[in-house]
Symmetry: C2
Subunit: 308 residues, 2 copies
Amino acid sequence: MDEHLLIQKYFSNIGSAYLAEHNVEVSIGDDASVTSANINSQYINSIDTSILGVHFLESMTPEEIAYRACVVALSDLAACGAKPCWYSISLTFPEFNEDWLSEFSSGLNRFSEEYKIPLIGGDTTKGYLSITVQVMGQVDSGKAILRSNAKENELILVSGKIGNAFLGLKQLEENSTSKNYQDFYKSPKARIELGMELVGLATSAIDISDGLLQDLNLLCESSNIGAEIFADQIPTSSKKILLELINSGDDYELCFTAKESDIDSIQDISRKLHIPITVIGRTNSSQELVLFDESKKRMEIGSGYKHF
Amino acid sequence: MDEHLLIQKYFSNIGSAYLAEHNVEVSIGDDASVTSANINSQYINSIDTSILGVHFLESMTPEEIAYRACVVALSDLAACGAKPCWYSISLTFPEFNEDWLSEFSSGLNRFSEEYKIPLIGGDTTKGYLSITVQVMGQVDSGKAILRSNAKENELILVSGKIGNAFLGLKQLEENSTSKNYQDFYKSPKARIELGMELVGLATSAIDISDGLLQDLNLLCESSNIGAEIFADQIPTSSKKILLELINSGDDYELCFTAKESDIDSIQDISRKLHIPITVIGRTNSSQELVLFDESKKRMEIGSGYKHF
C-alpha cells in the first residue's frame, strides 16, 4: 500500500467533527494543513516523541500506544493553560500490518473524541516503532501560564497522586495480577481542564513527566527562585517508597505555583473537576530546592528521569 | 547531561534573530512555545520524519543531516506558497556525543539563517537516529496553493532538473570521485521563494519528493483530473535513464499547474529567481496520467518511491 492510501485509510477523518470549530480549512491529504487563527489569542505549540521500549511497553496494544503518545504530547499544553486546537502525527513503524494500523487508528480516535480535536496532518515512515505528536493549542493573549513566572513566597501545588504511573508500570513489567495502577501508566490523562481553569490563578506551571522534583527544579530555575517541599505532604499512594515515587515521572500531573490568597478559588476548581490538588510547599528566594521530612530534617532529593 | 541542559546548549538561540518578526513570544525552554497570529493569514503546518538509512546516508555529516531534514520538511510549505514562520524539531539519537550534537546544531543554524526562521521548540529522545521536523508558514487568507485545485486544460510545469538528487545519491553511495551531483541530494533547496511568487498564478502545486510521476499522479487524483506528459520535455541531466530519473524522488522541486495565459508571468519569475521552469504537459479530463515519448507513443510510467 502506498503512503497516500495508507494515510487516507487509517488517518483521515480522525476527529473530523472538530475541524470547523478549530478553523481547520485543509486537513490530511494535501502537502500541508491549512488553518486560520483567532485574533487576541496566543498559540501554544509542542512536539513530543514516544519510542517503543523507552516511552511505552511492547506489551501494550497499538490502541494504547497511540492514545498514550498523544496524551503525553498534549500534557505540555495543559501546563500552559491552553485549549487544544489540533494535532499532527509522524508515525514510524517497522512493517505494514492492517490490523496493527487499524487498532492504532482507534487509539487516535479515542484521543480525538476525548479532547475534541482533529488530526490534521501526518507522515509515515518505515523503521523502529516511534510516534512523534505535535499539538497546537490556544489561550487568550497574554494568558499563557509559563514555567518562568513564579515568585517567592507562593504556594507550590500538585494535582493527582504522584507516582501512580510508576506503580502501574511496575505492575505491567512484572506481569502482575494486580492491575489497579496500570491505567495510570497506559492511559494517562492530560490535565487540560485543570490547566484552563488555572489561567489567571497559577503563576507558573509544569507537567510532571520526568519526576516531581526534577520538573519542579526546572520551574524554579526558569523562575529564578527556590523552594521548600514537605515530603509528608506530597500525595502518594504509598509512603514506603516515597522518593522513588516522586522521582519516577510519567504522571503527567501538573505542578504549579499560586498566591496564598487564591487557595480558595483553587480548592473550588479541585472540587468542581474532581481532581485532588495538594499544597506541598512554598517558594522562596534561595535558588535551591529543599525537601524536608516530617521532622523538618533535610532529605536527599535523588534524581528523576534521565534521557541520556 | 540532562535533557534540559542539552536543549539549552545545542538548540537554544538557533535563528533567534527571527523570533520577533514571526511573533514568537516564548521559544525553547518552556513546556511549549508561544506565538501569536496575524489576522488575514492562513497558517500552513507540516511534519516530516527523516531516518538514518532511509532518508539520509550514514556517510553524511551531522551538519548535513540536520540541514537536509529541515529543508525536506520545509519543502511542503513551498508547495503551498507559504512564507516560513518557525519550526520545531524532535531529535532521536543513540548516544550523547558533544561533537556530534555541536555539528548537528550547526546544520540547524545554517538552515535557520538561509530561510530566516527560528527554531522554537524541541524534544530529544534516545534511540535510532531519526529527526522529525515540524514547520509552520503563512500565506494571505485564501491564497494557499493546494494540490486539489487544478482544472483541465492547464499547463503542467516543473522547476529545476528532475533526477539530479538521484544522480547525487548514486555518486554518494558509490563513493564516486565525481561529486558534481552530490549536493542535489545532500543539500536540497526548498523552493520557498518560487512558491511565494506562484501564489495567485499556480492553480495547484506539489513538491516532488517521491518521484515526478507519482507526485503528479497525487495532484491529478486530488484535483480529479488527468494529464498528458511529454517525456522529451521533462528537464533531466541525462536522457538515457529518463524513467529512472523522473521516478526517483528526493528532488524537492515543485510541480504545478497554471493557466496558459499566465505563462509570461511565470517565465518572468523563472528569470528573476534564476530557477528553470519547464512546461512538461497539460491537464485534461481523463482521470489518467499518460506519458508520451517523442513520437507521441505511450510509455510505461513505472513507479516512484515506495514507503512500505
